[in-house]
């Protein structure tokens, strides 16, 4: 307030500052008009609805491929041209409390939707390969092209539990993995020792 008064007081002192102040006020007015105009043109923030249609609790084992299905609907009444965007899934590891890198989990990370007409509903589908055992949540998210600064629309969560899977039996592998080098060392060491004794190296 003090700064504004000071500025106003000074503006009387110089015609150049008066001109600058008027320019700033004009810009502010223009921005407010544009903002009002923009909010009128774009769909409101609650006209997109993302739903999960596949089961919301999934139990699987590592290596299995599951299908995440959902729908995205434009429940607004106004016909707008900028209701398109990108729908994608997000997987969060509940144990490590970190989002999962989808590189190994799903080849189809994002689905681009050019536009959704009012009242229209589109199916969404992802095939997800369960890579690692653990507990996860999966969300379907939608980011609208015209409104990148606002938070994405999200579905309800899918709770996923992945059990470990062993294609190999540890009881077969571990004895071989540890046993073969040990047996070889024992045989070669013995051969070397007896040969050394024969030639007099070990007395």
């Amino acid at each position: 307030m003090m700064a504004a008064r000071l500025l106003l007081a000074r503006s009387y002192e110089s015609p150049r500052i008066t001109f600058t102040l008027c320019g700033l006020l004009a810009l502010l007015g223009y921005s407010m008009v544009m903002l009002l105009d923009a909010s009128g043109a774009s769909p409101s923030s609650d006209d997109i609805l993302v739903k999960v249609t596949s089961p919301t609790e999934v139990h699987g084992s590592a290596g299995q491929i599951i299908r995440i299905e959902g729908t995205i609907s434009n429940v607004g009444s106004k016909s707008t041209s900028n209701s398109g965007g990108i729908a994608y899934i997000s997987i969060v590891d509940l144990v490590a409390k970190v989002p999962v890198d989808l590189e190994d989990w799903s080849a189809e990370k994002g689905l681009y939707i050019p536009s959704i007409e009012p009242g229209q509903s589109l199916p969404l589908e992802w095939n997800v390969r369960l890579v690692k055992a653990g507990s996860y949540t999966i969300d379907i998210l939608f980011n609208r092209d015209s409104d990148l600064s606002s938070p994405p629309f999200s579905s309800s969560k899918i709770f996923l539990t992945v059990q470990p899977k062993f294609n190999l039996n540890p009881e077969n592998i571990l004895p071989v993995a540890f046993g073969v080098p040990a047996v070889l060392l024992a045989i070669l060491g013995s051969v070397n020792y007896y040969r050394g004794r024969k030639t007099g190296i070990y007395g």
Partner: protein, 254 residues
């Protein structure tokens, strides 16, 4: 013809703890691979056929690398250490020297292969792939080891320098291994990749193992074209060695 040189090479390779350290190292590599196939979060998801194929690639790659390294210095080391003259003074022809050295390297491969068999059996347990994996790895490994060793011995005798012959032989081998190990699937399916794979014996061996272990095409008839290509490669390499070993020169290149 006696096999004195072969016996002396083998005794050098197997009768001392230092000489046999490569056997233990090879078994540790196989153990590490088997352990990773069991415990790694991504490798453990592979089917048993794919796991066997992974191990078979490692067995053959390790065998050929070991054979090439050993063969490419076998004559040049004798020349550099000035023991080759005395070797030539024995009643053994140049060709016999070359082929006895080839036989000793093939024997080393045989030991490596025998060490790999318990791992192959353990990984293929519960499938019908045990015998096929052992048979095909044996056939392809032996043919490739014989072929690459023959070329490497010829190179070693020609270049007379261990450093040069080892480098050249390893480069040739790595170029041959590259399509199977380093090429992505998309590159393999391109016309360039397919052309390379058609003329490359290592690719034929790996693709055949893929067919046998992953796609379950186990009969010899189904793999006849691959077997023929790899056999032709081995025969050509043996012919090159036969020709180049008709008379060895002793004096090193200055």
């Amino acid at each position: 013809m006696t096999l004195e040189l072969y016996k002396s090479e083998i005794s050098g390779n197997f009768y001392s703890l230092r000489g046999t350290s490569w056997i233990v190292a090879a078994s540790l590599i196989f153990s590490l691979v088997a352990y990773l196939l069991l415990t790694d979060k991504e490798l453990s998801l592979l089917d048993q056929g794919e796991m066997l194929f992974t191990l078979s690639e490692i067995v053959i790659s390790l065998g050929t690398i070991m054979a090439v390294t050993s063969a490419s210095s076998t004559i040049s080391t004798e020349i550099e250490s000035k023991t080759f003259e005395s070797l030539l003074l024995t009643p053994t022809s140049s060709r016999q020297i070359a082929f006895q050295k080839l036989l000793s390297i093939t024997t080393s491969w045989f030991f490596l292969y025998v060490i790999a068999i318990p791992y192959l059996i353990a990984i293929s347990n519960g499938t019908n792939l045990s015998l096929s994996s052992i048979l095909y790895i044996g056939i392809y490994g032996t043919l490739l080891v014989v072929g690459f060793s023959a070329i490497s011995i010829a190179l070693s005798a020609k270049l007379k320098s261990s450093k040069n012959s080892v480098m050249v032989a390893l480069m040739v081998l790595l170029i041959m291994l590259a399509p199977s190990i380093f090429f992505a699937t998309s590159l393999k399916k391109s016309s360039f990749g397919m052309a390379i794979e058609n003329i490359n014996p290592v690719s034929h061996a790996m693709n055949s193992l893929d067919n046998v272990l992953v796609d379950n095409q186990q009969s010899l008839f189904e793999q006849a074209s691959h077997l023929l290509e790899v056999s032709i490669f081995a025969v050509i390499c043996l012919a090159i060695l036969t020709y180049s070993s008709r008379r060895f020169e002793v004096s090193p290149v200055v």
